[in-house]
Symmetry: C2
């Protein structure tokens, strides 16, 4: 039931991406190809799904209303992957089982495609503000996402992640990286969906707690899977973190403690949803199970 | 008179930049340092100056009103320089007489600082929309700048510029590069200032024509200076375009034709300003002379 709904929304999002990322015949068409390559390279689409479903749960309206906003969030996520994979950064050759963007289009084009995706995400949001009667909601949701994505959020997390590859790191630093590099944009997807859906103050509090738990759970699971998964399941080189001598939740706390922490976060997430009186949070609960059980 | 006013506005903008780019004590402080390094590295500040003065001329109000918006435009310009200078792109060691960002902070941090500046520019704009009573004007101005900066604007121009380094190019392609890589954001600074100032349809037409002429003039002058200037005057390696076997307005059309074209554009720009009835366009006229006479 959950998996079917998840699949349906994912298909809906990917159809929208297909439409938005057609390659025009133009002098700069290669950058559109490069953007399209990474936007259509699969992935769980967890961020746009969270934005869409949170909007629907809170507002009672169709999630289709905010699909353009949700796809803009996915553009930001995708640009961050394209830049993170660069030789000057994490130097990854594979992502989701396919050669990384710079391996296909070159480092220069990958940098520009990433820039292009980030720019297009915000251009899309300005367009939504301009065209909507809910200007204040769209503005607040956009500001939330921009703040989560910037130097005090996702980019800040990546900065500290890069620095920490070079030296020892305490668990506070590791928490900072997880919180910012991965969790903030995931949280922001939920929060922006809630803003667009018109959540009450109390609902927002519950959803923020849920979002925080989901966000960290997501990163810990990634680190666990890197340790125990196979390359085939992961769609990238398994054990790359260890090969790169990279500190992760698992290398710092050990596998057992990491699994415990993931379970604890599940409980917090479920309890937070329990406080959403009168709302159908079944999908968001299903997501918790999915994240804990997921293979890749 | 013009130079004094230009200097005053430049100082005002740079004071604002100083305030906005203080380096906080934080785990990711190095990315703030890197962003600050490039934002305070000098330059003519032509884009924010154009936005501020156009706003003032059109609205009759103080240019100080929109300084945050103008600085956000400068962030977009600066991020594009930081990324363009990367070894994977133009591979420049000096910019404005100082080592380029990646030479000081490394390629990884330069990529992230660029991303951070682009993100912060739009985060600033969302904040302005949220906090202003002129939401529609700020939204339209932001959309204008985002559209000029993206894959159908500045990024698109850089893409074609990179491709053209690798093969022969006709003058149509060169025009495309000039138009998009350099002119669009300069034009957009004028147009967004005009939007924020509440320009009439007729005023907007004149300012667009002026902007188009100024934008192209600016690029042609850069190419001319690369040919005839010294490294000291330029603050970067003179003749780098030739060294890199890069096609420019000068290498395609020759020095004499390029100078002729620059003069022709001056006349168009002045004529456009002549149509701005009842507005004090003295500063914008002064800018035309300044651009034609400027050394770097």
């Amino acid at each position: 039931m959950f998996k079917e709904e998840m699949g349906e929304i994912k298909t809906f999002i990917e159809e929208e991406i297909e439409k938005l990322f057609r390659v025009p015949s133009s002098p700069q068409s290669v950058v559109f190809e490069s953007m399209r390559y990474s936007m259509t390279a699969g992935g769980k689409r967890i961020r746009p799904i969270l934005a869409l479903k949170t909007y629907e749960i809170v507002s009672g309206k169709s999630y289709r209303d905010i699909v353009k906003f949700a796809v803009a969030i996915e553009m930001i996520h995708t640009y961050s992957l394209v830049h993170d994979d660069l030789p000057a950064m994490d130097n990854d050759d594979y992502r989701r089982g396919k050669p990384t963007n710079h391996r296909v289009y070159g480092d220069d084009m990958a940098i520009l495609a990433g820039d292009g995706l980030l720019n297009l995400a915000y251009e899309t949001m300005f367009g939504l503000i301009a065209g909507s009667e809910e200007k204040e909601k769209y503005t607040a949701a956009s500001l939330e996402v921009a703040s989560a994505s910037g130097v005090n959020g996702m980019i800040g997390g990546q900065v500290v992640d890069i620095l920490s590859d070079r030296k020892d790191m305490d668990s506070g630093t590791l928490d900072y990286i997880h919180k910012n590099k991965t969790s903030r944009l995931i949280e922001s997807s939920i929060i922006s969906g809630a803003i667009l859906g018109g959540a009450s103050g109390e609902e927002m509090e519950s959803l923020k707690l849920y979002a925080e738990s989901i966000g960290l759970m997501f990163q810990i699971r990634d680190d666990i899977l890197d340790r125990i998964g196979s390359s085939e399941e992961l769609g990238k080189t398994a054990g790359i973190d260890e090969i790169n001598d990279k500190m992760t939740y698992v290398t710092v706390h050990g596998l057992e403690k990491s699994l415990e922490k993931a379970t604890e976060l599940c409980e917090t997430a479920r309890a937070a949803l329990g406080r959403m009186k009168g709302k159908d949070t079944e999908f968001l609960e299903g997501l918790v199970d999915y994240l804990v059980c997921r293979k890749a």
